[in-house]
């Protein structure tokens, strides 16, 4: 018999830790989506194009600016001492991935803004000659290459940091995995590719995005496998944490919404789409995006619930 009685009843801590609600998973999802979009936009930016070709890289920066702003809005809502948020930008704490994240977000905005400037609508260009000159300069091959590299690197940093942010908090055994950074990056890439595939108007890009998304989904599945293998072969506390997803309270939502509906089913549908056995459908990309959101909700929620079991 083991009975534990405590007089502590602090909000958000007892009876189980729940410091982060919907805001953080939503931010991590939007951040991952933007990260994926930045990598893909950077990739397509450097491809040679015929005049008049419509490139998805012209649209993604605009949408990403909105998405990352919404994400940062969610992040701001989560803060308990909101008026002090500027303190983030008076320091860089090397041991804190959250501090890196704050500064990565500072880099994300100008990179996205320059990407958006490259593709200003025609009527803007005629009304604002200075903007037209800037857009033309950004379309020069050297500037395009630089912006493409910056977009890819910043996107990768943003995507990985969202996972490392959690895995650096050692008190939560479910998050104590080096696989979380790559997993959140690849999930962001699959989310970004699924969305870009929907909005792409160029058939060559559509086909490339579909193939890329299938590859990302396959890698994501493998990383989830590694994540679980890593936990289940570690110490008792990590095995207990993994049990939350393997028979515990988060099992159904994880396997049904994240793995089944979010990865396996869309991967199957998109494989058929890629081999032209079924027509293109919005169902698969929508499932990929919902799966990405569900992944963040499950990992954030279950991770907070996991704890060290020793007294």
């Amino acid at each position: 018999m083991l009975e534990l009685v405590t007089t502590r009843d602090n909000p958000m801590i007892d009876p189980a830790m729940h410091v982060w609600g919907w805001e953080i998973p939503v931010y991590l999802f939007l951040g991952g989506w933007v990260a994926g979009s930045m990598v893909l936009a950077g990739w397509f930016m450097r491809r040679g194009r015929e005049p008049g070709d419509r490139c998805v890289c012209d649209v993604l920066p605009w949408i990403s600016l909105v998405l990352i702003s919404l994400g940062m809005g969610a992040l701001f809502l989560d803060l308990e001492h909101k008026l002090y948020v500027w303190r983030m930008y008076l320091t860089l704490q090397p041991s804190s991935p959250m501090s890196w994240g704050g500064w990565i977000l500072v880099l994300v905005y100008p990179v996205l803004a320059l990407g958006a400037l490259r593709s200003l609508p025609g009527d803007w260009l005629t009304s604002w000659p200075a903007l037209a000159r800037l857009a033309a300069a950004l379309r020069e091959p050297a500037a395009t290459r630089t912006l493409s590299n910056a977009s890819i690197l910043t996107g990768i940093a943003l995507g990985i940091y969202t996972g490392v942010l959690l895995s650096s908090l050692g008190a939560r055994p479910l998050w104590a995995s080096a696989a979380l950074g790559p997993l959140f990056l690849v999930s962001g890439l699959s989310t970004g590719a699924a969305f870009a595939h929907v909005i792409a108007r160029n058939p060559v890009e559509q086909a490339a995005l579909l193939r890329a998304d299938n590859a990302f989904l396959a890698v994501e599945l493998a990383l989830i496998g590694l994540f679980l293998v890593g936990l289940t072969t570690a110490s008792a506390v990590h095995v207990n944490a993994a049990a939350l997803l393997l028979g515990g309270p988060y099992t159904a939502v994880f396997w049904v919404f994240v793995v089944g509906l979010g990865i396996v089913l869309p991967l199957a549908i998109q494989t058929l789409m890629a081999s032209h056995r079924i027509p293109h459908t919005l169902v698969a990309p929508a499932l990929v995006m919902l799966g990405g959101l569900a992944l963040r909700f499950v990992i954030v929620s279950a991770g907070q619930y996991s704890h060290w079991i020793s007294p």
Binding site: L4, T6, P11, V19, D78, S168
Partner: protein, 179 residues
Amino acid sequence: MARFGMVIDTRQCVGCMDCVVACKTENDVPDGFCRDWINQRLEGTMPDLRLTITSERCNHCDRPPCVSCCPTGASHVHEFGRIVLVDHEKCIGCKACLASCPYGARFIHPDGYADKCTFCIHRVEKGELPACVAVCPTYAMHFGDLDDPGSELNRLVASRRHFALKPDAGTQPRIFYLE
């Protein structure tokens, strides 16, 4: 430089909660929150039962994860006694420190910043004991410098079997419980 810690004798602690009340009074801890608390752990099978009462709080760890994850430097190790503190004016209330503490020792103060035990640094700087230690009616709690080989803490730890909380979390806590 001193490295403050605590030794708490679980054979003398009766779980009276004087330490909890003293802390709330001394530090003006808001209603519904606590910086220290009492745990009672009952284990075994009848009639061989063992009850361990522990007065718990922030362990002021030597490897504090709450400090390393803090994005603003609000959570820091104070040079006086290496006490782990929160600078309220720097804290943004991101709650990373709450999530990173394996002891659940932190909470968000109603004013928005992360709050926790300070080892009553305002008293210790004046040469007084932390409020919880000062009021303990059974003298179960001891406070002092762990780096002083002749301190009462080191004498107690050397003379009795003892344990720290969640040692496998790797935080190197500085509160020890005598068995």
